[in-house]
């Protein structure tokens, strides 16, 4: 039994539920077979991958849906073995090179070269090129991105690259110059609402409009999250009722509690406790930038205007250092300590004003 997110994923451009104009654009774009490399970007859960798969289906027909998952081993120049999984059909291959960490360049080198230099012999498809889908390219090292540059040009006759990422600012300008950018905005709350209702109908369930709206709002316009939440709610209680609680992810609750703890008490002891909790979150693979974002949003709620900007500046400052550094915990902790100190000062000054 598969999850609703997978079960009802649209498979053709025509069936996409939102951004229909864009779907039509994409269809026209690939019809001639001389389309450029693409850089598909947008927030997570906006449906980038679904759209890419629909595009491939448009290009190659149903054959792209016969997918195989394979594990491949690459060897670095220093003879280290890297294992990586790929998803491939006869026409395309999808890889997340950042799985290989800082060795991602080796993957790009080996994979692209091999694929690009292999001509497609299956003439029945009438396509002369294959497609390489690279996901999470915003996590690629600069080295790996440089490795892509000339290859993308040189082998254009035999292969097209579709790059997929959240944030284009991490993609070097030379790569951006080589691609047509396709922005996939997150669906609106209303669109999510409709999709939830539609999905429930397909499952033979009824969902009150208000409740669908509640889930859609809670999902932060992330369609994947909305569908997962909806399915979880169904397991908890069905028939749905409008005032039913929408289950939040455990880590989110935990993170909010942590933010509260910082707001309640500013002391060395509390800092140590908070540190342990941040560690816990990190070991559960919650990305540090997400932690920083949520902490900021929760913490500024109790600050006044001037202080809000100040806290925002330090959050941005420490998150930047975190990306540059090796261990996220140092920088998260530094942020918390800094916040505690300025917040305490703010509270004390407020008290002085009282007397």
């Amino acid at each position: 039994m598969s999850l609703w997110v997978d079960k009802y994923r649209p498979t053709t451009l025509q069936k996409l539920d939102y951004h229909k104009d864009q779907a039509v654009h994409l269809k026209k774009l690939v019809q001639c077979g001389d389309f450029p490399h693409l850089l598909v970007y947008g927030p997570s859960g906006a449906g980038k991958k679904t759209r890419i798969m629909c595009l491939l289906r448009e290009l190659y027909g149903a054959g792209v849906e016969k997918l195989r998952i394979e594990h491949q081993t690459f060897t670095t120049p220093s003879k280290k073995k890297i294992e990586i999984s790929t998803i491939a059909s006869n026409y395309h291959i999808e890889v997340n090179p950042s799985e290989a960490g800082i060795q991602d360049r080796v993957i790009i080198q080996e994979l692209l070269k091999t694929v690009a230099q292999t001509n497609q012999l299956d003439t029945s498809t009438q396509k002369d090129f294959k497609v390489i889908v690279l996901t999470e390219v915003d996590h690629l090292t600069k080295d790996a991105q440089h490795a892509l540059r000339r290859t993308m040009e040189k082998y254009m006759a035999t292969c097209r690259v579709i790059l997929c990422c959240n944030s284009t600012s991490k993609v070097i300008p030379a790569i951006r110059s080589r691609c047509l950018g396709i922005r996939v905005a997150a669906p609106s709350v209303d669109e999510i609402c409709q999709i939830l209702q539609l999905t429930c109908r397909k499952e033979g369930l009824t969902i009150p409009r208000e409740f669908a709206k509640k889930i859609a709002t809670k999902s932060d316009r992330n369609l994947r999250r909305a569908l997962l939440m909806c399915e979880a709610c169904k397991v908890q209680q069905y028939p749905f009722s409008e005032d039913q609680a929408v289950a939040q992810a455990d880590w989110e609750v935990y993170l909010r509690e942590t933010a509260n703890m910082i707001g309640q008490e500013q002391s060395r002891k509390r800092l140590v406790e908070v540190r342990a909790r941040l560690y816990e979150l990190l070991t559960h693979c919650i990305p540090p930038e997400v932690i920083m974002r949520v902490l900021l949003q929760e913490l500024v709620a109790n600050c006044d205007g001037q202080l809000k900007s100040e806290v925002t500046q330090i959050a941005a400052y420490y998150e930047h250092r975190l990306q540059m550094g090796q261990k996220a915990i140092y920088h998260l902790e530094a942020f918390v300590a800094k916040f505690m100190s300025i917040y305490k000062r703010f509270l004390e000054e407020g008290l002085e004003d009282l007397f």
Binding site: C32, P77, K170
Partner: protein
Amino acid sequence: MQAFLKGGTSSFASKPSKETASSSGRSQTKKKPTPWVEKYRPRSVNDVAHQDEVVAVLKKSLHGGDLPNLLFYGPPGTGKTSTILAIARDLFGDMFRERILELNASDERGINVIRAKVKNFSQLTASGTRPDGRACPPFRIVILDEGGLHDFSCPDACGHACILQAALRRTMEKGSKTTRFCLICNYVTRIIEPITSRCAKFRFKPIIAAVLKERLEAICKAEGVLCDEKALSEIIKISEGDMRKAITLLQSLARLRGSEEIVLSDIVDISGVVPEDVIDNLIRVCHSDSYDKLDSTVQELMAEGHSAVQLLLQLHDKLVEEDKLGDNQKSVIFEKIAVVDKCLMDGADEYLQMMALCTVIMQQICHADK
């Protein structure tokens, strides 16, 4: 994977030689629908637009039949790779493929492989005549294009890069009768001085609007594309001197419209440019002095998927023109834009950086002296 690679190389161990791959790729381009950037890549140095200095010098060397070591640098899509390939074609005619060795990170691994390749390549004798009997210069060109050059650059993390630069330097010092180097990069500072000083350096300029226009119009004519005057100038504006970007946009728009004329309104959809009213609204929110409004606006921007780099660019353009802001306010804001740009390049979070920038803008607009 095996099926995916059907018919081609059956394993990673046996790699087809680059020569065969590229030449077979080339012979097929005639039949295949080729993306326009490749189709309209200059074939001869005479076709290279806007880089007059370089072209003049190269043409002179064409007459003399010799070439200095070259260093090309400049922003993407300005003709660096095209120029060296074109000059090779002009010099060597049909045999230009055999006379150039392109090294880039995607092909070669490790210092020894590269070293051996360069050595073998430069030890091959290069005759002074073409197969058809005409004279041609008796040397070969090693092109260190971006990626390959990255190996030669000096990132702190990577020990072998410096060894490579040293090796390259020695080769250049010795001088070679049979090898010329052409280094290509976006930033000249990545390469050590002893190497740059041994090359004739050429800066490739962003391509100016008039030249872009001329090229695009020529392509429109050749492809039978109709493009509205206003739309054309918008494409040019968006491209910011990057000819590759301009051509890619034009082709994509042509595909969208089919046989109909391309008009201005098509462009916003596909260019990645943030719509004007979105920027105006963001600035309006900064005037409101409400952090909460700002927060929800920035969240909205992120959900819409707008690129932060693009936002910075357009905010900058807008605020430069803003009469209501004094010079002091502007300088504080633009300094912050610069900092944020750097942080984004380093991989910082887009939401946090945009919030950091916008709170500064808000602060300056609402509370600072002009």
